[in-house]
């Protein structure tokens, strides 16, 4: 369809009718009514136009279906988790932390993250077979090691995150490796909790779901994928 045809359609009576149908339906839901001249024109057009009457009926049914669509409900316990996360997040950001309370709230943040790790470790299902790829938050990755955790630091610059995790990971005998925009960290299992506590006290790190598989007793090295903004 060339520009001329598109323009002609845009100003066709049917296109005008379709726009007015929307306005008319919205007027029934609290918006301004159609001007009388438009209302009269629309009525007259609909009387003689089968296709625009069909458009009106379809649009009416569509809007009803959308308004009748049930609200997606937040998961159970969402409000409580938000409160916990808000307090933890406020703690690890120096500008909103009262200095004398920082250590105590830092402990809360660390505990929240560590508790999260234990939850993930407990709920992640048995590993999937074959391929070497794993499912993380529903998306295939090509990690050789599995299972692994995913950590994000939304709103924190990549350079800042790299600096923070480099100092922490090396202090916990871990290694870092660039993987595209991300950083892969391999850390001894015994150091995992300590490293996460340090991360929780320094930055806005969020542990994401890792449903790659179970961390069995034989796994000595844990892989953490840091997704940088």
């Amino acid at each position: 369809m060339n520009l001329f045809e598109r323009t002609r359609l845009l100003f066709s009576p049917h296109a005008r009718a379709e726009r007015l149908i929307d306005d008319h339906l919205d007027a029934a839901r609290g918006e301004a009514s159609l001007p009388p001249s438009d209302q009269a024109w629309l009525e007259q057009h609909l009387e003689g136009c089968v296709s625009c009457r069909a458009v009106r009926d379809e649009r009416h049914a569509l809007l009803e279906a959308m308004r009748a669509a049930p609200t997606e409900r937040a998961p159970t316990g969402f409000a409580g988790r938000v409160l916990m996360a808000a307090k933890a997040r406020a703690d690890v950001e120096p500008e909103v932390v009262v200095p004398e309370r920082r250590f105590g709230l830092g402990g809360v943040a660390a505990l929240a993250m560590v508790a999260g790790l234990f939850v993930f470790a407990a709920i992640i299902p048995t590993g999937k077979d074959g391929g070497g790829g794993v499912q993380v938050s529903g998306h295939a990755t090509e990690l050789q090691d599995r299972p692994h955790f995913v950590v994000r630091a939304p709103g924190v610059g990549a350079a800042k995150v790299r600096a923070q995790i480099t100092s922490i990971v090396t202090a916990h005998e871990g290694t870092l490796e660039a993987a595209g925009d991300d950083v892969l960290v391999r850390i001894p299992r015994a150091e995992l909790i300590g490293a996460m506590q340090d991360l929780a006290q320094r930055g806005r790190f969020k542990v994401s779901k890792a449903d790659a598989g179970e961390i069995g007793p034989g796994v000595e090295t844990i892989v953490i994928r840091f997704e940088l903004d």
Partner: protein, 225 residues
């Protein structure tokens, strides 16, 4: 929820009566319709003063609307939970910046809109923009959706299928069209409120709603045609 109960089945409009009224129920106000803008503002002021109980109250009041908006924008409940959490954390941190120049709900939806669009871009950059099939949405089961009580079983199935198809079609819209259509036709916000949330002139909002609906109608013609 209340909308579905008040208006469980779409009815065919009378083709001879262009003056027809839709007679659609207004959506329930959060928390059972007991809230008001004044109460919201009072709660925000308390949050700014460090009152965590006020924060929890406001989260409980708006959690489903914000989560639902995020889920409809992102088409992924896990991502939606993550973003909705960030929305409320932003509220927690920035409550003192709310000046009451707009409704609190508008302010909160503006945060939600910005964060969902940011997340969509983030996921697209990573090639992880996830769209769910109709089958996957249906697999969520009744626990993932609002309470469909008082609707006969057969109608519930039809409504669930229709809702899943509509949701899938919404996910195919461009983000800027998706946002305004969801805000207008699912959250029942006015042109003016959407204009405040998006920062777009009302004429642009109307135009995007119209184009979004037209695209949806084309994609769903086999259902509503």
């Amino acid at each position: 929820m209340v909308r579905a109960m008040a208006n469980p089945r779409p009815t065919a409009p009378d083709v001879q009566r262009p003056q027809q009224k839709l007679e659609l129920a207004k959506p329930a106000e959060p928390n059972g319709g007991t809230t008001s803008g004044v109460e919201d503002v009072a709660l925000v002021e308390r949050i700014a003063g460090g009152d965590d109980a006020a924060f929890e109250q406001l989260v409980e009041r708006y959690q489903h609307r914000i989560f639902s908006f995020c889920a409809r924008m992102l088409q992924d409940r896990q991502e939606a939970e993550d973003v909705a959490q960030d929305v409320f954390i932003t509220l927690y941190k920035n409550a003192g910046e709310f000046r009451g120049e707009s409704q609190f709900s508008t302010w909160l939806f503006r945060i939600a809109k910005n964060q969902t669009l940011n997340r969509i871009k983030y996921l697209e950059r990573r090639g992880r923009s996830k769209k769910r099939s109709v089958d996957e949405l249906a697999d969520d089961g009744p626990g993932a959706l609002a309470d469909p009580q008082d609707v006969p079983a057969d109608d519930r199935i039809a409504d669930a299928q229709r809702a899943a198809l509509v949701q899938e079609a919404i996910g195919t819209l461009a983000e800027d069209h998706r946002a305004v259509v969801v805000l207008r036709d699912m959250e029942d916000l006015s042109y003016e409120e959407i204009s405040e949330i998006t920062g777009l002139p009302i004429g642009t909002v109307k135009s995007r709603i119209h184009r979004g609906r037209s695209a949806l109608a084309r994609r769903l013609k086999r259902i509503f045609g």
